[in-house]
Amino acid sequence: MGLSTDMPCRELVELVTAYLDGALSGGDHERFEAHRRTCAGCRTYLAQMQLVVGSLGQLRHREVEEDGAERDRLLGLFRTRGLHNREPRERSVPLGMAGELATPGDHVGYFWESEREFDAAAGFLAAGVERDEVCVLLGHDTANERLLAGLERRGLAPDELRRRDRLHTVSGQQPADSVLGEIGDRIRAAVDRGVPMIRVLGNLGWEHPGWPAERDILRLEARVTDAVRNLPSVVMCAYDVRGLSGRRLLLGGLECHPLTLRRAALRHNEHHVPAGQFLETLALDAA
């Protein structure tokens, strides 16, 4: 056997962990095995490392502290905060606006009139950043630009947030189904990374180039509520009271959101219409 294929002891000791993980390449594995068969020192080294690994595993059993109270607390948390619960869920998510608290799965219609009220929506995003959540913007360009400027005024750097995967933009310039799908994907991807909560801020582009037609935006709004009900997310859609038509405010704003935020108060919305019924009515209107 030539020198090139022999594995010196000094090389073998560096490969023990990869060897035990079964992660050596075929060639290295063979060289490792060949050397191990002939070298007592390396066999001992391998045995020692295995002993170390084994004794580390024993630590797991050594220091188990039973804490019944802690266990009960966690079970209580599961009972009261689990999203298998329908209403009422505990309000625990700071909305970042008007000192209000939301709950995971909320879909809020935010009715704004003044420029100051519009800018306040940046507080919704800032509260998410503060809590290490992920923020998703679904809006037309003008609204998004103003919100990002609002974040900067609050001392946050949108570019850096994007780099850290804390801020995403979902384009509304695609079919409504794709918009809904992409929002769901963003939420699930963030949860997969271990992120606690996702906030979505919508400034829907009614009549904006490339956006779905009014009827499709309404259908999208109606379906958001059920789509996010069991997800660790809060979705807030901003409605421009002075700029939007009465039909859009009534059908999109009032009838599609179980909660409304208006003049600094988050309220349950009696005018909310369940998606099935809403979509049926919308189809009848069109016929």
Binding site: C9, T17, E65, R81, R188, D192, G194
Partner: protein, 224 residues
């Protein structure tokens, strides 16, 4: 060495078991949640302690992580194992909390799993040089045989304390990887997935950590 077909069969069974637990949690099955807590809570606490200053803060971090599990379960798609996902949530919360405490956080920031300068698992003085005529790179003083029932020597109080001390003095990244892999029994892939690091880098760190612990325990590893 594990048989490939067998290993994938085991993985499939584990994935199926995960699916059952996920579905039970979604339906609000409290007993299923209790079993999960019993299985993982102690491990989560130990790992949280590697990030934050006090036991009380670690407990808050762990509770936060459980809340993330409770509320995220409908969005969890099972791309990794349930256990890996739960550790990932924990690590995420622990990092946030540690950063707020102004502590140095293991694996924070981009390229944080960079393994840095090479470290030899065994001191170079224990090997003949590479240009040695007959014994290039071979042991000058090989480790001595482990002898009979070395496990016994390792289970003693003195060895236990030495082991803990060896872990405590590891650099934070190495300590974290070693704890998850060898103390908590996660696979290397699970550890790296939970920490968001490259598997090759994770294995390098794990190897360095094990090598240091071995060196510290050497007196107990050798037969008398």
């Amino acid at each position: 060495m594990s048989d490939g077909a067998n290993a994938s069969g085991t993985e499939e069974a584990a994935a199926h078991a995960d699916l059952c637990v996920i579905e039970a949690l979604r339906q609000g099955d409290e007993a299923a949640f209790a079993r999960l807590v019993d299985q993982l809570h102690a491990s989560l606490r130990r790992v949280a302690r590697l990030y934050v200053s006090s036991r009380a803060v670690a407990d808050e971090v762990v509770q936060d992580a459980w809340l993330g599990v409770i509320q995220g379960i409908w969005a969890f798609e099972g791309r990794s194992s349930l256990k890996t996902w739960i550790f990932r949530i924990l690590v995420n919360r622990a990092k946030t909390r540690a950063a707020r405490e102004g502590r140095t956080v293991p694996f924070a920031g981009f390229g944080a799993d960079d393994v840095g300068a090479p470290e030899a698992a065994v001191g170079p003085d224990r090997f003949w040089p590479a240009d040695h005529p007959t014994e290039p790179g071979r042991w000058t003083s090989p480790p001595r045989d482990v002898g009979a029932s070395p496990e016994h020597r390792l289970l003693g109080r003195e060895a236990g304390e030495l082991l803990q001390k060896a872990i405590d003095t590891l650099p934070p990244n190495q300590r974290l990887v070693l704890t998850l892999r060898d103390v908590e029994g996660c696979s290397t892939a699970e550890v790296c997935n939970a920490l968001g690091i490259q598997e090759t880098n994770g294995r390098v760190l794990l190897h360095r950590a094990r090598a240091k612990v071995r060196a510290a325990l050497e007196p107990y590893l050798e037969g008398g």
